[in-house]
Subunit: 340 residues, 2 copies
């Protein structure tokens, strides 16, 4: 085993825990390793549980996100995990590590953003913890959701031949982050505001996840938090399959492509490796493809894009204009070798 955390990596840490934590409870349906854990409430209902931690200077910079946006996003990233399992979120628990310099006005704005989002998604904030932090603010949110046992969607059901689909643009959040950090005057241009909003004010696709799960249209699902390649790799690992991605079919926004071009960046990097888009990525049998596109569009107004096919060979390959690209998965790892 590598000696330090950088070598071990985020997924090495998860492995370190999951190999030793063998759930014994008879009501455990799914433990470590999917977007949510699943616990049997009754024969008719499963409980979904997810938890996410946001640390200042790692996940956000105080000067670039308003407290209201931060409150929304803290809840939204967890709702997105419930969406990825096809569940209905119900309750939230908020633990906060607060630095002594914070004004109560900041906290009130944070609260308002979080509760506004909770109201939109019919989620109750039911508890939490408030502690002091010395250097950086920390927010840890746990969200409970429910689903019907026969509608549960995990990462593990993808089969060779399945279509791989995305329920929205990817790369906008990475493009928005680029704009924010570059401090370029471009960030003030109207057309680019959409990219900044994609990063600061993401939307969890709960209704879409529910729709796909309740109609039993998808074989596997995840939300794009670490980047398309890496999140698709999670599906492939859990399903013991591979994937061919058609890069030319990737839904990239006009604005993201335009910004990438002006910055000398390959927009594919944002689309395939950029994280935090929080759109749903899912697989379905070939004969469900049209039905999914139709019902997402007619029932929710959401356009869904096919970006590739599940394969047997346990590799993820990316094809552009008939040429296989040489890409190592570049998604976000919290402990890359370069982390200082």
């Amino acid at each position: 085993m590598p000696d330090d955390l950088q070598q071990l990596g985020e997924f090495g840490v998860i492995e370190l825990f999951s190999q030793a934590a063998k759930p014994a409870g008879s009501r455990v349906v799914l433990g470590i390793g999917d977007d949510c854990a699943v616990w049997r409430v009754s024969e008719a209902e499963y409980l979904l549980v997810t938890t996410d931690m946001l640390v200042e200077r790692v996940h956000f910079l105080r000067e670039y996100i308003t407290p209201r946006q931060l409150g929304r996003k803290t809840l939204m990233v967890n709702l997105s995990d419930i969406a990825a399992m096809g569940g209905q979120p119900t309750a939230a628990f908020l633990a906060m590590g607060l630095t002594a310099d914070l004004k109560s006005e900041y906290l009130t704005e944070f609260r308002d953003g979080l509760l506004e989002c909770a109201l939109e998604y019919n989620v109750d904030l039911l508890g939490g913890d408030t502690v002091a932090a010395q250097a950086d603010m920390v927010f840890c949110l746990t969200v409970l959701g429910v689903t019907n046992p026969d509608q549960l969607v995990t990462r593990a059901g993808a089969r060779p031949g399945d279509r791989i689909m995305l329920a929205g643009f990817v790369g906008d959040s990475a493009a928005g982050l680029h704009l924010i950090l570059s401090k370029s005057a471009k960030r003030l241009e109207h057309g680019y505001q959409k990219l900044i909003r994609a990063h600061l004010e993401p939307q969890a696709q709960v209704a879409l996840g529910r729709l796909l799960a309740s109609k039993k249209l998808v074989s596997a699902m995840i939300d794009v938090s670490d980047g398309v390649e890496q999140d698709l790799a999670h599906i492939c690992r859990a399903s013991a399959v591979g994937a061919d991605i058609q890069a030319d079919s990737l839904p990239l926004s006009k604005q993201a492509c335009q910004l990438a071009k002006s910055a000398g960046i390959d927009p594919l990097d944002w689309g395939l490796s950029g994280g935090e888009d929080f759109v749903l990525l899912f697989c379905c049998a070939e004969d469900k493809e049209d039905q999914i596109k139709n019902c997402c569009l007619t029932e929710l107004g959401t356009q869904v894009f096919t970006i590739g096919t599940i394969t047997e060979d346990k590799k993820i390959r990316v094809n552009s204009q008939g040429v296989w690209l040489d890409r190592a998965a570049k998604g976000y790892d919290h402990f890359p070798g370069s982390l200082a």
Copy 2:
């Protein structure tokens, strides 16, 4: 409203959130304000949820607690909240903010301590989150538990005339912390090791909480995490009552008294204001007092002490040898005015 967090205080922050978060879900039994939130699983079962955050340099110093002890304690403080509601813990979720200097050996030891404790209490670790932290380690644990609806014990049931009882010594944890921080040679003496263990290796009284709840012997319950006075004040506030404490009946260990004497400290301060003892503090009707003492002793070998009586007048008063002491509640607040 005060402008900054120090003035607002920990309980001001909780109030800020609870006044705005009005649970709307029909399955919510109890929201913000008790040891756990309570959510209706079915007619026959309630789900209990609690979350606690531990921040390095606020809750622990890396040089004074081994990673194995820290792993145990991280879980234990949450189990204690489930115990305080009379529940049976079932599942845990661990979010970690890890600094880049951590060795994987440290994390392995932390994991082993946590999982060892989980095994002892029949709890499954089912998920979590792993992120980077820049300055301080952060651990946030969420624990789920269950209880029967007719056995739920909250902070809100104490009535005037009820006896106030403690299920073990208080002040040992504060005495242990004093020993650790003072770096006195005394800390190596055999007799004082018990105090240090009380601070670093607390025990959650889950079986005791279950026993009292299942036999319907208690009217209100809490675990002593902030200190007897402050935790009793939580019960009094929730129950709209007051309390008279007999300081001379407070269960203080011989070692804590001896150490306090040699350090020129009033041991009552540790007993009434010291936090983190994690013994259960509960109230019961006068005619249940003997039954509780007997059944805790015979079934679990636990000695229970009566320390006072619930009153009508919504004040907490402390009496020693017939004299009322002048004490402002001194329990732990995460944002005291002096916090730098």
